[in-house]
Subunit: 123 residues, 2 copies
Amino acid sequence: MTKNAELILNIINASYDHLTAEQIYLRLKEDQVKISLATVYNSLTALYEQGLIKKVLVEGFPDRYDRVRRHDHLVCSRCGRLTDINLKDMTAALQKEVPVPVLSYDLKISCICDECSKKERRN
Amino acid sequence: MTKNAELILNIINASYDHLTAEQIYLRLKEDQVKISLATVYNSLTALYEQGLIKKVLVEGFPDRYDRVRRHDHLVCSRCGRLTDINLKDMTAALQKEVPVPVLSYDLKISCICDECSKKERRN
DNA sequence: ATACATGCAAATCTTTTGCAATCAA
DNA sequence: TTGATTGCAAAAGATTTGCATGTAT
């Protein structure tokens, strides 16, 4: 684990913001860390392959990075905002329906976030 | 709805294969349809915006296109293969846990497909 | 005639890679 | 010294776009 990778892992684990590679890069620069975007990407890939972080893919947005602790997501269908939600683990229930071993699952719930709701009510 | 868009919609609705834009393009060419890849992409975007098809995003794979009828997916974590699975609609149950209206949800179950299981047992 | 659909090539965006320079053990 | 890490710039892959041309009503 390189020092840079550790910094990046800390940022991800300390934030609920589902940051993109570029946002992580900018945050590091703000903190006066001398690093390139390529190194951010490479470190993210390494962390991902070690299972230390997760990726969240949403149509129309660059990959966002996330903690590994199990949780689900609300996705705003207007602005793409991701919000964590802690639902009960469904692995066992899903396993009853699936003919092969369930390794994990990914649940995204589509909704309209408060901010976008307000915006729409104004118009 | 243009003739090309209709052809593409028919391909998607007639296949369980979760085709990529390029695969759709190749399938059309096989059928002697004169069309460009750009038009395939443009038509897919139009169909998607009209809510007539869905996209399936999986890490490391180009977008794949799918029917709109509600169903969930098994995703092979080795080869990326997508398999439809018909689980009970969970919208009502999720709504009880979520403080904003649930528009829809997307559930991907990670597993290892039969073919990859066999391959691994051989080695 | 008008508006839309098409195809091509170029542009875009995100991410990955080759490689030389640098750093750390 | 040796091997890993870094940064840069270039490449890559997927998708979108500008624009001139073609098509259908």
